[in-house]
Each structure stands twice: as structure tokens, then as C-alpha cells.
Amino acid sequence: MIARANIYIGVVALLFLAPQRAGAQSTVDAVKSKGFIQCGVNTGLAGFSQPDSKGEWRGIDVDLCRAVAAAVFGDGGKVRYTPLTAQQRFTALQSGEVDILSRNTTWTISRDTSLGLNFVGVNYYDGQGFMVPKKLNIKSTKQLNGATVCVQPGTTTELNLADYFRANKMKFKPVVFEKLEEALHAYFAGRCDVFTTDVSGLVAVRASRAPSAADHVILPEVISKEPLGPAVRHGDDRWFDIVKWSLFAMIEAEELGLTSANVEQNLNSSNPVIQRFVGATGDVGKMLGLDNRWAFNLVKQVGNYGESFKKNLAPLGFDRGINKLWNQGGLMYAPPIR
């Protein structure tokens, strides 16, 4: 109940907060004066954002927030996390409760426009899939007519699900749970025949939550495009730029071959592209209003995109797939840092 109250707190905040005047303080100034970044993450999705056994948050969505902290403060540890359910996430960002929403959130036009958010980019290209118990012996989503489906409300998943069954003239019964834990509990207890979410989520929960991972299969059809990425509030261009280029710097670092292990030696690299990246030449950092070694700090402390993927997602059985770099046949592509 306490968690659910957040959406209402957000509403109250919108009623009470004094509106910011044009040209008023940017989030970056607010973040600098309070000394940390408040990062909205998933309540617990292995590989994306989940506390480890020591209570430290881990995952690629967490790494994005740490990367921004490293760029802004030179210290990736200056992040505090707010776990958010699917239903709370947008209100939490809108009302200023969090500075970045980095919570496996699909970038769509309605969210980008009418919700008052700006998506900065994509840190995981995903698509929606279906998981069923192996014993049902189902091979394709086309066999799911009449099935009971566990799904989380307020997600693109819920809408795609209805669209897909409508388009294929099939019927289904949804059972919706706000919390992933409850939805999974119901699916594993047999309340639903099918669990649906992004394929990344299916892989993660099958590896981390299923009583026996081998008893569940993910069906081959992927029914939607789900570009997942971090978002910030609309109308704060300085903060938007900083978060956007922090994400790009992680991708660019991988392309340049810079890792947390070797970036130190590359401070004296003779490659002019790398020189600009690590801040040895040029003033890219100043353009963002940050220290010129922002990208160096980011790679040094958090690592490049590939490292983050390998550390967080590969152990769960994730394949790089379309999330490879563009020059290796994937979609990860950062505009030039110059």
C-alpha cells in the first residue's frame, strides 16, 4: 500500500509545488546542490535493476544512472534509488520525485509527448514475448486462443497484448497485477496459462524467479518493438543533454575500444578521437557544462555499454542480438562526440 500511494503523492505534488518559471533552475543545478542523483528504477528486474545480496543496486538501468553521476560529479556512487512500479513511474518523474527514470520503459510517441517526458535514447532494444509452462506443449502464440494471461497493468505490454489478440481474432482473459512479484507468483502458481512482458523480462525472470527454469518456454514470436530507454522531464534541455550524452558516451566508448580497465592508459592516446573523448583535447565537457573529463570518469567508473551488458545481462543468458554495435550488425549507434 505504501508503494501504491506514490502515484497519489505525485498528484499532490503537482497541486502544491510552485510552478517553475521559464529559465529557472535546471535539474542539473538542483542535482549539484543536493549532491546526488535520484534515480527511478524497477522494483526488481534481474539484469536491469535489482539489489544484490549486499543491497547494492545492479543492472544496466542502474549503470546508466551511475554513468550520469560519474559524468556530473566524477563519482558514480552519488546516486540514490527509488524503486517504482509500472504504474508509479511516470508520475514520479513528472512530479520531480526522481531526476531520471531509468526503468526498462518503452519509448512511444504518446509517452514522449503527452506525458511530459523526454526519452533520451535506447539502452536496450526489446520486443514483447510470451512464456508458457513447457507441459502445455504450446509451440506458437497462435495456439493461445482462450488462454488466461498474467500481465502488469499500465504497460505497453498490456496494450500490445490486447492489440495482438484482436488482430488475430483470438480471445484471452487478462489477470493484472501491479507488482511484478504478484504477477509472477500467480503465473508460477498456475493461475495463468501465459505470462507476457518484454523478452528481456521473460529471460530475466525465468533465470532468476522460476522454481525450475527448464519448465518454462519462451515462444518464438516477438509481437512488438519495445525500445527501452531512460527518460527525463520535458522542458529541461540542459539535463536532457547530459543524460542523453552519458548514454551515448557508454556506447561510443565500446566502439572506441575503451573499457574501465584501459581508459587510464588511453589518456595519452595518440588517436585524436580518443583524445577528445577522454578530455585530453577539445572542450566537449564544457559544452555540457561538466568537467572536461566527464566521459573519462564515466568509463573509468562504470565501464562501456558492452561491459555493462556483459556484467549484468550475459550471466542471465541474454544474447547481444540486435543490441550489438551498429558496425557489428546491431542497432547501438552513438552520434559522434566532437
Binding site: I7, L14, F16, Q94, G116
Partner: protein
């Protein structure tokens, strides 16, 4: 010369003037606060580029809802219709819940007053246990009992012919729709009207308790008899549930979510109702029992004509708050996946981002429901006070 401002003679030392002045000030302050919040929210929304207004209610909702009451609904319908489905789902659980919680609560309250030691202690432990465990925990408990312990549809339990119990809920046969059912409905209405008229007549014609007309029996006969006669004459066909594919189709079904929510609300609220009933009866002076005894009334007559009319005066007002509580507690449905008003509104807020409008709708709806229940109970309370009741 005439005073051009005769009303200015009104000063703060005059009590009526003072009251008017203070009340105007208060009204002004409330109005200003409301204006401030509205203007502030509008400015915040505009500055953050968040859409506002209620036009979104007529857009396509795009999500499915697992169960509906009376209405049909599909993902192609509007948000407004989705909200109506949620509201009716709330009504369904609240109406059934209030009726059953009252019955169960009264039985337990009476049991707690029983002279049978075991029965009284059992009722007391029920009240203490249930009242002191949070409702949310109880809901999870009932829900997991259903989903974890019942078998899958393919191995469904079959306790009665045609009735199937599985972790998808209870599926049971229902009569197939037939044109005669309209007439049965009409006969039911006619029976109810007749029963009310009978009661009026019996009330006026009554001289004393010993010459009572058997109003309950006659009323029940009228209410049930007519439709039953028609029903038995009509061709009766059953729609039976049968396992097809993933689940049962045909017949009717109660979902585990509805069952768990209903069970949780009834059992929880009944504990409070029991205490209210007990307190109401204990509030009646012991002498009233003895006097009724001395008059030679049977224990049923004592309860009905002496004790309950007096106890109801104590019972009805706190009962109103229990009914309001049950209705509002039904919003915990969201935790176990029952699509009530709050659950649907939460989803809607998330899909459209229009949280202020969504919360306003939820508040308005619950306020309306609560005020309606309160108005009805106040009317009933006045009636109990005036006429001494006819329980």
C-alpha cells in the same frame, strides 16, 4: 437626513453580523485555496507539457478487463466504458459483501452472547483474530489459498454435478436465456409490490401481537411463488461449463480474484459487525428481557418485539460506517488483480498520464457512493427511531 448606508450600522458586536462576517471570511479562504490549487496545478501541467482535461475519456482504452458485471466490454471501447465496468465491479463486490457481512456478523455477534460457553468463546476468538490482522494480509491469504491449493482446470474438482472447482475459479451451470425470463422478472416485481401492500395492510389492521397476520410467510409466498410458478412452466435448459482448450466455457464462473476479495471483505467486516450487534443488544436494559419474560413472550418474540427495536437504535449508526468501510476497502482489490474502479482508473492514469483527472474521478465516485450509503442509512435510522422498528 437619511443615513445613506443604513446597513453599516451592523457591527462586530452584533452576534448575527459577526457570524455572517466570519462565515464569509471562511468561504472566501476556502474559495481562494481551491483557486490557488487549481491554478497551480494547471500551470504545473502546462509547464511540464502534460495533457489535461477529460476528453481522453472518449478515447479507445485499448486494454482488456478480465471480468465485467452486466456490461460487455472489449479493448475497442472507451476509457469511460472501462471506468463504468470498474465501477460496476466495485458495486458487485460491495453489495454482495455488505449483505453477507451483515448476516455473518449478526450471527457471530449473537453467538458471542450465547449461554453456550464453547460457542461464545469461538465467536470471541473469531472477532479478536480477524479484527487484528490487516485486511490486505487476509486478502493475500485467501487468494493464495485459492490459487495455490486448487488444481489446474484439466484436473478440476467436481464436488457437484456440473460444478467445477479449479485455480481459475468456480464454474457452474446456469439456465439458458429464454423469452419467459422477462415475464418471470415482471412476476417477481409484482410479487414484491404485493408483499409491500400486504405488509401495509397488516400493519394498519393489527390490534395486538396475538392477532398478527403471518406477514413474512405471506410476503415470501408472493415474492417467490409467482415467479416460481412461471419458471417451472418455462422450458428449462442449462448452459453447463465444459473444459475446452485452456479453461471452462459455458455456464457461469466466479473468478478467484472476486472470490478472494469477497471472502476477505465479508470475514473482516463481519468481525466489526459482530461487535456492533453485541454492543447493541447489551445496551438494552436487562429489565426489558425480564419484563418480556414476565409477559410470557417466547424468546423469538422477545427478540423481535422488545430487544431488537431498541438495539437497532444503537446498532444502525455504527453499522453505517462499517458499510462505508467495506465499500472503500474493496479498493484493495488492486493487490489481488480484481478489476475494480481503482484498478481500472490506475491503469487509465498510467496509459494517459492524466493522474489528476483520474484521482478526481476516483474521489468523486467514492464520495458519491459513501454519501448515498450514508443517506440511506440515516433515513433508515430515523425510521428506526420514530417507529420503534419492525425488525
Amino acid at each position: 437626513m437619511l443615513n445613506p448606508f443604513p446597513r453599516l450600522a451592523c457591527s462586530l458586536s452584533n452576534e448575527r453580523c459577526r457570524n455572517v462576517a466570519y462565515q464569509s471570511l471562511l468561504a472566501l479562504a476556502v474559495g481562494l485555496a481551491a483557486w490557488y490549487f487549481a491554478a497551480n496545478a494547471a500551470a504545473n501541467l502546462q509547464e511540464r507539457n502534460i495533457a489535461s482535461g477529460f476528453r481522453f475519456l472518449w478515447r479507445e482504452a485499448g486494454f482488456e478487463i478480465s471480468e465485467t458485471t452486466l456490461f460487455s466490454y472489449s479493448a475497442a471501447d472507451t476509457y469511460l466504458r472501462a471506468l463504468a465496468v470498474g465501477l460496476l465491479n466495485t458495486f458487485r463486490v460491495a453489495v454482495v459483501g455488505i449483505a453477507l457481512a451483515t448476516v455473518l456478523g449478526s450471527v457471530i455477534g449473537l453467538a458471542r452472547l450465547s449461554r453456550n460457553w464453547l460457542l461464545a468463546k469461538l465467536a470471541a476468538s473469531y472477532v479478536e483474530l480477524i479484527r487484528n490482522v490487516p485486511l490486505l494480509v487476509q486478502l493475500f491469504f485467501w487468494y493464495s489459498i485459492i490459487t495455490e491449493n486448487l488444481p489446474a482446470p484439466a484436473q478440476a474438482l467436481n464436488p457437484l454435478p456440473g460444478v467445477f472447482l479449479s485455480n481459475r475459479g468456480v464454474a457452474f451451470p446456469v439456465p439458458r436465456p429464454h423469452s419467459a425470463y422477462v415475464w418471470i422478472g415482471a412476476a417477481l416485481m409484482a410479487g414484491v409490490v404485493l408483499a409491500i401492500m400486504l405488509k401495509r395492510w397488516a400493519w394498519h389492521g393489527r390490534q395486538g401481537m396475538d392477532r398478527r397476520f403471518p406477514i413474512i410467510a405471506a410476503g415470501a409466498a408472493a415474492t417467490i411463488g409467482f415467479p416460481l410458478a412461471l419458471y417451472l412452466g418455462a422450458p428449462l435448459e442449462w448452459s453447463r461449463p465444459a473444459l475446452t482448450g485452456f479453461n471452462f466455457s459455458g455456464g457461469a464462473a466466479l473468478s478467484p480474484e472476486f472470490a478472494a476479495l469477497l471472502a476477505g471483505l465479508i470475514i473482516y467486516t463481519a468481525a466489526f459487525v459482530a461487535e456492533i450487534v453485541r454492543a447493541g443488544i447489551m445496551a438494552v436494559d436487562r429489565g426489558q428481557f425480564e419484563a418480556a419474560d414476565a409477559l410470557g413472550l417466547s424468546s423469538r418474540q422477545t427478540m423481535r418485539f422488545v430487544i431488537l427495536p431498541q438495539a437497532l437504535r444503537v446498532i444502525v449508526p455504527p453499522m453505517t460506517s462499517q458499510y462505508l468501510n467495506l465499500t472503500k476497502n474493496s479498493s484493495l482489490a488492486v493487490a489481488i488483480g480484481y478489476p475494480d474502479l481503482v484498478s481500472i482508473a490506475n491503469t487509465m492514469m498510467n496509459q494517459t498520464g492524466q493522474a489528476i483527472e483520474g484521482v478526481a474521478i476516483i474521489m468523486l465516485v467514492y464520495l458519491t457512493i459513501s454519501l448515498t450509503i450514508a443517506a440511506f442509512m440515516n433515513w433508515y435510522n430515523r425510521r428506526v427511531l420514530q417507529r420503534g422498528g419492525d425488525a
